[in-house]
């Protein structure tokens, strides 16, 4: 009895210590900075915030962000589903290499990604100058930013879809084939509805990642105010120009979108997935 009581007290104590450590860690790392930003944003009331968010440069930054993030997510959705189908359903030489390569963007620093893209598509390189002669500019313009954003968010859709594809197997599609469905009908009527939840989860994660991307986009965009500046880049720009209210307002709006996407992803998360 006494022994049990002592063990209980000890277990209780260690549990409490653990909680305090984790919560304290989160408080200093996450809650405090976000709270300060929120406080600073609304320190002088709502009017300056509205002004900051509706300035021409801010609206343009939002538009650039929407175009870049939207395109990158669209590209990654198509690519992610295709790559997932390829890796799960087909056996070919190099499959494992592809499977491993797709996770590379998680490990590589976004700044390195930006530099690498500049080295390949910059105006001074052979690829870049050839493209420039064709009238296509990649670096310091929207296409390069879309490329960089796609790269950093590359594995998210695929990694969300692969386990579900593996779980549902091929039998439903084969059954659909014997019932007369061709490849397109099998994909739209069987495969897509089966992976819908996981796909939506991957898309929302990609969107969150794309909205917040800074490093890679900073390198390839050239950060031309009012031209190639996304909302994330604009925040730093405002801050460096001592427009703290504007910077805090933009930061808060971005954080709000990110939190919203995470809440949505929470609902979309496939049941039983630990991701």
């Amino acid at each position: 009895m006494t022994n049990n009581a002592v063990t209980d007290v000890r277990a209780g104590a260690s549990r409490w210590t653990l909680r305090v450590v984790v919560l304290g860690y989160l408080a200093f790392l996450l809650v405090l900075p976000v709270a300060v930003i929120l406080y600073r944003t609304f320190q002088h009331g709502l009017a300056p915030v509205v002004d900051a968010l509706t300035s021409a440069n801010a609206i343009h930054a939002y538009q650039v962000t929407a175009v870049v993030a939207g395109s990158a997510v669209a590209i990654n959705t198509v690519f992610g589903v295709t790559a997932a189908l390829l890796v799960v359903r087909h056996r070919f030489p190099g499959r494992r290499v592809l499977d491993a390569l797709i996770d590379l963007p998680i490990a590589v620093s976004p700044v390195v990604v930006g530099l690498a893209l500049t080295l390949v598509y910059g105006r001074t390189t052979s690829t870049g100058s050839w493209l420039a002669r064709e009238g296509i500019q990649i670096i310091f313009s929207i296409p390069g930013m879309i490329l960089a954003t796609s790269f950093v968010a590359l594995p998210l859709v695929m990694r969300a879809v692969v386990p579900v594809l593996e779980e549902i197997g091929e039998e439903q599609e084969q059954a659909a084939a014997t019932l007369g469905a061709n490849a397109v009908q099998r994909f739209t009527r069987i495969t897509l509805p089966s992976i819908r939840g996981a796909l939506a989860y991957g898309v929302v994660l990609s969107l969150a990642r794309a909205l917040g991307e800074f490093g890679a986009v900073a390198v390839v965009s050239g950060r031309v105010v009012g031209k190639t500046e996304t909302a994330s880049l604009y925040v730093l720009d405002l801050y460096n120009n001592f427009d703290q209210t504007g910077a805090y307002a933009m930061a808060t709006s971005l954080a709000a979108v990110a939190v919203l996407s995470l809440i949505v992803s929470r609902f979309l998360r496939p049941k039983g997935s630990a991701a």
């Binding site: 549902i168 039998e171 439903q172 084969q174 059954a175 659909a176 084939a177 014997t178 019932l179 007369g180 469905a181 061709n182 009908q185 009527r189 069987i190 509805p193 089966s194 819908r196």
Partner: protein, 320 residues
């Protein structure tokens, strides 16, 4: 709507799943592909459906060359062992799938689905999802879905394999009745000889990637072509160097011409029948007798008796 399989071979890597298989399945029959696991029977069924491409050989369905046709153009209904239910669709939409692919009119689909729901006794479950059904109900739904498009042939892969014994027995009898009602050429795969004997008109024994024998259940039981077929289709024991059915051994209390002397080792009562393990001077054997016989002969371990094989009955020389 006959099926003709001619000289089909199929390899998976180094493993030969089918070796030069030829078999013809007559129109309107209910045929079982029977054999041990890994013997190639499921591969054969999938080759007929177009879900596997044979390395060599041809498939003809209803007189039409089908070898290079994709599954969706073969006019086959296929029922998978694990049902392959479309999880995101209701029972009704599962059954309607093939018809909606064929762009049939809405009211025509509705009428046909209703008809099939009644056929498979799932009227109450039209709006349920597969996850809300029992195994047997899912299997019946899968069957209705396959029948909806009026296939030329119906192929079933271990249709009752994943069900418990009681449901399995019910569904067997039901499949037999259904076949007599719908009369579509049906082929089903099973490793259960009792199931094949009970349900099928014709049995194709498949093992080691080859067709071992084709015939009616009676033919196969009475005239097995090899000791393999004989031992696969029912219990066997060895006497005088021959495989015989244990129920074809008569036990006698006195010597008779042709009878072999034996000593009873063990008597096991299994309800109506009694299993008698015997030692003869050439080895062990066992006989299946009725309770009455066992009592009449007063069989005990150590009892000396004489065993008379019914030579009119099946006996196959033991090979190897």
């Amino acid at each position: 709507m006959s099926i003709k399989v001619a000289n089909v071979s199929k390899k998976f890597g180094d493993f030969s799943a089918l070796r030069d298989v030829s078999v013809e399945i007559p129109s309107g029959s209910l045929t079982a592909l029977l054999g041990p696991s890994g013997g190639g029977k499921t591969t054969l069924l999938r080759v007929i459906a177009g879900l596997e491409t044979p390395d060599e050989g041809r498939i003809e369905i209803d007189g039409v060359e089908a070898t290079s046709l994709p599954p969706q153009r073969r006019g086959v209904g296929f029922v998978f062992q694990h049902y392959a239910a479309f999880k995101h669709m209701t029972v009704e939409r599962n059954i309607a799938f093939g018809l909606s692919i064929r762009k049939r009119a809405k009211d025509e689909i509705k009428a046909r689905v209703q008809e099939l729901l009644e056929l498979v006794h799932l009227e109450q479950f039209a709006q349920r999802y597969p996850a809300q059904l029992s195994g047997g109900q899912r299997q019946r739904m899968a069957l209705a879905r396959a029948l909806a498009v009026e296939p030329k042939v119906l192929l079933l892969d271990e249709p009752f394999g994943a069900l418990d014994a009681q449901v399995r027995k019910e569904l067997r009898a039901w499949l037999r009745r259904l076949h007599d009602q719908v009369n579509v050429t049906t082929v089903f795969v099973t490793h259960d000889q009792e199931e094949a004997m009970e349900v099928a008109d014709e049995i194709v024994v498949v093992a080691d990637g080859e067709v071992k024998q084709v015939g009616s259940p009676d033919e196969l039981y009475e005239k097995p072509a090899s000791d393999f077929v004989m031992s696969f289709l029912g219990p066997v024991t060895t006497l005088d160097g021959k495989l015989v059915r244990p129920h074809d051994l008569e036990l006698l209390s006195t010597a008779e011409p042709g009878a072999r002397e034996a000593v009873v080792d063990r008597v096991t009562r299994l309800g109506f029948e009694v299993r008698v393990d015997l030692s003869t001077d050439e080895g062990a054997a066992w006989a299946q007798v009725t309770r009455a016989t066992a009592e009449h002969l007063d069989l005990q371990p150590g009892t000396r008796i004489w065993v008379l094989p019914h030579h009119s009955r099946t006996a196959v020389p033991v090979q190897g």
